[in-house]
Amino acid sequence: MSEELKKVATGFEPKIMAFVCNWCTYAGADLAGTSRMEYKDNVRIIKLPCTGRIDPLFIIKAFENGADGVLVSGCHPGDCHYTTGNYHARRRWRAFKNLMDFTGIDETRLQFSWVSASEALKWVDLINKVTTQVKAAGPFIEYQGLSEKYDDGLGELPAETEGESKEC
């Protein structure tokens, strides 16, 4: 990251989107609440039936909408409510992470972890860890900057996606 960007990062609070499965991680996050644990408030959860439902497009869309980091979390291997959904998720995540690495994006922006319904403490530690790491990585300006920097000779890209994200 350039010095210029680091300056922007001072006092910055990252936005993190979490895609979690309904049966393990969502219940684990509920348990953290029931146990009145405390963690950083940067994460917004989207509940899905299974991590296997997660389409890589969801992750791209989250980044497009201004997420500085994305977290994917589901049942431990072998514990999937739907037998094998989390294995599909793991495979897709690995491939996607490689793609991110290839395009030069900091890998800490996409994180993956198994959190079971009883692992409230693991959830709390995970959120705190991910938040700290994404914070250190700084705002995800590269993504937003893409549309401005990229010149394919066809003129300016329509600004609709950008407008949408700002509206929210």
Binding site: M17, R36, C50, G52, R53, D55, L57, K61, Y82, H88
Partner: protein
């Protein structure tokens, strides 16, 4: 434009203390499509629910968002309330601002909590705008059950289902039902004779007018889904006409050829036309085709000549039976680990080293020795007998990592059976730990040691060899720290319980999970111990893992109660969270078929008007689909979608982030 109502719950002070619910309500009111918002102290209380119902009616809401506790708590409550006010229950969404917001952010200035609640609620409002009204799926239920395995667990399940008034097909691989329990001499801890308590149940099952027993049969194929399975059963040729055979036994008497008895585990011979044991149910013999001279060489045929009713039919062929059932109980039981793996204990080389199950046959009054304990080599009464426990169990290197659970108990029982029959004899037991958890179990093992004179030595045996007609056992007694050499007459190995051969291929036919030892997986090991991941298929007995008779019987009854509950109504309603394929755009790559963990996606033919197949597409079977959504993410052309979690809904939520 939508007409959405937002209801923000204060949950007493649980939410209100860190979230300004009034602020959330007024902020959300500004959202496009939101026409009503309010807060209340306890939204889940009766007046709270009434408020929701009233608002739906008065404001003509077409969707509601309740910002409150986790959907795992009250989603059902509010969906029910919506339904009673005439709103489709799937147009009601819950935002979790308690467990995942107010309880985990302790900022009493309410800034953090309010901001996060706003974000979460906004995301769900956008999601809700894309929600489609869904209807519960009703599936007809065929009220007939299939029980696979005719051991004690299967018999119990079949009897309980049949007593509940439903028809049962009981499929058994062997020529008779009874399973492993039929082999046992006496049972711990009560020492009642196994056959005496089992055979009445076998006969009851045979005579029950709701139970159809298919012995010498195996499940070939299972198609369909809960309430609507089609099973294909292979009925192997018995070469005996079951409808006319009277079970007189004349054929078995006159048959001149013999083979090793499977039931007696090689300790005895049986005729080539045989029933495995005298109390067999059904009492109809089968011909062991590979050993029958008539079937292999076309000579003999004595059985046909002596058979009064003329039931012998050498032309009989394997038969395939198709049955429609609504539920399946799997009770295929266990096997013993082949002792041949343990060369250092001399099994297979030394005749007087037997397995625990073989000892059961020696001790059984219906066994090859008539209940007298003789050594297999020369028929002498063993004066010193050594029992070795944990052969293969708790031994990851050579056997299995788990404890076989019943060996401590049956070895204690064996020492007693031996003592009761050979009063001057001495029994030794080499053990690792005594595991006797169970009602009256600990007392039982104490009795073996204290009253029945069994000598328990804590330690392992290094080697067993033959010398001067004796079986010499060399081991260690770790409690006294000495080496022990016992010149025994006979050695009994308590070998590990393992899954049945072919357990994995049956699991694949049924679509249920199994572990690395090929024991079947329960849906949940504690809370759903008899269910499997495939709805409508239940588990009983030792096919799940080592277990004793009382546990197997309990599981049999538990499965039966699940089956009867399923059969209690003509139709079964289930959540409409299932995948669907847009068939116009499906290009039949079958990525979804490969990805689906439930084999819920079928390859469907596309036909023209003349009935010619012109193409293929994927089709989701709503009865089988469990709604995980793996196929949706796997589909390359984005033509599969999951009701309740459509791409549109998820993207709407992300866009509102």
């Amino acid at each position: 434009m939508s007409r959405i109502g937002v209801f923000v719950c204060q949950c007493g002070n649980n939410i209100e203390s860190t979230v300004d619910t009034g602020q959330v309500a007024s902020d959300m009111k500004e959202m496009p499509g939101v026409v009503f918002s309010c807060t209340y102290k306890f939204m889940c209380s009766s007046p709270g629910q009434e408020m929701v119902r009233q608002a739906i009616k008065d404001k003509r809401l077409d969707g509601i968002v309740v910002s409150a506790c986790s959907p795992h708590m009250h989603e059902k409550t509010f969906r029910k309330a919506s339904e009673s006010a005439g709103l489709n229950p799937y147009k009601c969404e819950i935002v979790n601002i308690r467990e995942q917001c107010s309880w985990v952010h302790h900022d009493t200035t309410k800034k953090i909590g309010t901001r996060k609640s706003n974000d979460l609620t906004r995301m769900i409002i956008e999601r809700l705008k894309k929600n489609k009204p869904l209807k519960k799926i009703n599936i007809p239920v065929n009220k007939k059950a299939l029980v696979i395995g005719g051991g004690i667990a299967g018999i119990q399940a079949a009897l309980d289902i049949a007593d509940g008034g439903r028809e049962v097909i009981l499929v058994e691989r062997e020529p008779s039902i009874g399973g492993n329990m039929a082999r046992l001499s006496e049972t711990f801890p009560t020492m009642d004779c196994s056959q005496c308590i089992l055979t009445p149940k076998m006969v009851e099952a045979e005579l029950h007018d709701k139970i159809k027993i298919l012995t010498y049969s195996e499940v070939e194929k299972l198609d369909g889904y809960i309430g609507n399975f089609t099973v294909t059963i292979k009925k192997k040729a018995k070469y005996v006409d079951e409808s006319t055979c009277t079970g007189c036994g004349e054929c078995m008497e006159k048959c001149p050829f013999k083979a090793d008895s499977e039931f007696e585990l090689g300790l005895n011979k049986r005729k080539v036309i045989y029933t495995p044991f005298p109390q067999a149910v059904p009492n109809i013999p089968v011909i062991d085709a590979p050993n029958c001279v008539m079937l292999t060489k076309g000579k003999c045929g004595i059985c046909a000549k002596v058979c009064g009713p003329g039931s012998i039919d050498f032309e009989q062929k394997d038969e395939f039976i198709e049955e429609q059932v609504g539920a399946v109980v799997v009770a295929t039981g266990y096997d013993l680990m082949p002792n041949e793996r343990f060369g250092e204990y001399g099994y297979g080389k030394i005749k007087d080293v037997v397995s625990g199950m073989q000892f059961e046959r020696l001790a059984s009054s219906s066994g090859p020795t008539g209940g007298q304990i003789f050594r297999p080599s020369d028929g002498k009464v063993p004066e010193q007998i050594v029992f070795l426990q944990c052969i293969g169990s708790r031994d990851e290197a050579k056997g299995v990592s788990y404890c076989s659970k019943i060996c401590c108990m049956y070895t204690a029982k064996h020492t007693m059976l031996y003592k009761h029959k050979v009063h001057d004899g001495q029994a030794y037991v080499f053990y690792m730990d005594i595991r006797a958890g169970g009602k009256r179990y600990e007392e039982f093992t104490r009795r073996a040691q204290e009253q029945e004179d069994a000598m328990y030595l804590r330690g392992r045996v290094a080697r067993i060899y033959e010398r001067d007609g004796k079986v010499v056992v060399q081991g260690a007694d770790t409690l006294s720290g000495t080496q022990v050499v016992i010149e025994a007459d006979m050695v009994v190995l308590a070998t590990a319980l393992v899954s049945r051969p072919g357990a994995d291929s049956l699991a694949q036919k049924l679509g249920i999970g199994y572990d690395k030892y090929k024991f079947y997986n329960e849906y949940h090991p504690k809370l759903k111990p008899v269910e499997t991941v495939t709805a409508g298929i239940f588990l009983s007995g030792a096919c799940v893992g080592p277990m004793d008779i009382p546990e197997s019987v309990s599981m049999g009854s538990a499965s039966a109660s699940k089956v009867l509950a399923l059969f209690s109504s003509d139709e079964m309603a289930r959540e409409p969270i299932v995948a669907a394929v847009n068939k116009q755009r499906c290009n039949a790559c079958w990525d979804c078929v490969v990805a689906c963990p439930y084999t819920a996606i079928e390859k469907e033919e596309v036909k023209d008007r003349q009935g010619n197949v012109i193409g293929w597409n994927a089709n989701v079977n709503e009865g089988v689909c469990q709604g995980c959504g793996v196929c949706v993410a796997a589909c390359r052309s984005k033509v599969v979608d999951l009701a309740g979690y459509t791409d549109e809904q998820v993207f709407a939520a992300i866009n509102a982030f």
